[in-house]
Subunit: 263 residues, 2 copies
DNA sequence: ATGTCTTTGTGAACGCGTGCACAAAGATTG
DNA sequence: CAATCTTTGTGCACGCGTTCACAAAGACAT
């Protein structure tokens, strides 16, 4: 179901599979919650349930990081939090710039989870001169002209693009030329980047379309079932077995306000 | 380039792989752009380049829909737009509710791409009584108390959750109980839903953490390379071969303003 | 009609990710 | 110290998705 798609076919980081890397933040979140409740240890079974994954998968994931568990007991929560944080590079500070301060950009700037885990909003950038100087989330918006200087002076390597689709590639090119090597793209466009630059995309429109597909399929099956079984009673089957969502592959929500691209 | 038509409607809709479904919106977007430029046909090679995927993969994807291409010519743009739209269920109207009208919820409500492709914002719902009646994106916000009635009266089957993490599961339960069977979750939490309900999650925090991982890895390799190769000249390799991002799997941005969950 | 050229559609091989099932490791109890 | 019980770590098999490579199909030229 979900997205979580890997981008590059190759580049098996350092032995850690891409699918595992995508799940580490999930484990980290569950572990942090346990840590706050002062739970000392967890079994793979418990943690897997909290993260919504298979316990065998979780154990295999952790095995790529090393043997941090104790048989018969489980995993030490604090220790695991540290190990995963370190593996994900969250023990260091990551200055991030957000380009395109429309509705979405502002929402991202205000997002609390940003600062909580090593990420720091170094600057907000927008092409509209009228926005310049106006504070958003306590940070004054700067004009696009300053982009290169901002990247350079703050040592920014991660950029978030929340511009309309039409401006995304251009912004991307400038970010990359200025030294950014990781981009999180919210604009509904396929970005072309040089080798060595990572791009992850988040596309609302795509997510909705995927849901619509399954919704349509469900409706079709329901109709078909209704025909074959004459008239069964309560067709509205309300919650029976609980199923957990699984990390799917890839994709997400999407662009900004005046999206140029249609779908 | 004439377009011989030998298409069979090929109702094979049942066996479409999930990975293919996730790419169809991508193709559709590229095709729509071509359509607006009045391009009559495209080859798999051209379209694949526009969508950022392998051409063989694209052809195989289309083969699941049926034989809509013409050998020696390519695919008829308009026809393909229609077929994919139909397959994705975009030829019908999908009323959607957005729950949690904070920064993110408002951004989503204002998002233009919503209406463009079969999706219609049926209602905005928020738990804050002060928000009730206030128009956002031209639509008056309604109180959570109305949730069940709204779902029922509008026949809503797709819900978007943009609440803080702490409220997400509760909102989800109410949506599902009211009849929603597809959920797009922006809150940083794992949602538990009954069987038959689809959940896709979009988590900004996770995306950033994945980028940080690769960024750290790149920094490490760079440092290692620097040691081995003494001092090579321009370490700042600026754009050489263009590599396209690929549809990954899963995941995305994230929650709302006052995110309760840490990471 | 025949031949050439382009592009599709797909058979087959390969690699990654998932989940089962179990042996090994360690804690715990007596 | 021995027996028992719990939980990890992983070998293995299976299935999905990707990619290559090519035969078949059709357009186009002569």
């Amino acid at each position: 179901m979900a997205t979580g798609r890997t981008h590059r076919p190759a580049t098996r980081s350092r032995g850690i599979p891409e699918a595992t890397v995508a799940r580490l933040p999930l484990y980290l979140r569950a572990l942090t919650a346990l840590s706050e409740r002062s739970v000392p240890t967890v079994s793979s079974e418990e943690l897997a349930a909290a993260a919504g994954v298979n316990s065998a998968k979780l154990r295999k994931d952790f095995s790529y990081l090393g043997s941090y568990g104790t048989r018969g007991v489980g995993y030490d929560v604090e220790y695991l939090v540290y190990q995963i944080s370190r593996e994900l590079g969250l023990t260091q500070d990551w200055p991030v710039v957000i380009v395109g301060i429309g509705n979405l950009g502002a929402a991202l700037a205000n997002y609390g989870g940003f600062a909580s885990r090593g990420f720091r909003v170094a600057a907000l950038i927008d092409a509209d001169p009228a926005m310049a100087g106006k504070p958003v989330a306590g940070i004054p918006v700067q004009h696009t002209d300053e982009l290169e200087a901002i990247i350079r002076d703050n040592g920014v390597s991660i950029g978030v693009i929340a511009t309309p689709a039409g401006a995304a590639q251009q912004v991307c090119d400038r970010l990359v030329a200025a030294g950014v090597t990781s981009i999180l793209n919210f604009a509904p466009t396929v970005l072309t980047v040089p080798d060595g630059v990572d791009v992850r995309k988040v596309d609302l429109s795509i997510e909705l379309q995927i849901l619509a597909f399954h919704e349509q399929r469900k409706a079709g099956e329901e109709a078909a079932a209704e025909v074959t079984t004459s008239q069964a009673a309560g067709t509205t089957n309300t919650a029976v077995a609980a199923k957990r969502e699984d990390s799917a592959t890839d994709q997400g929500p999407d662009g900004d306000v005046p999206a140029v691209m249609p779908a």
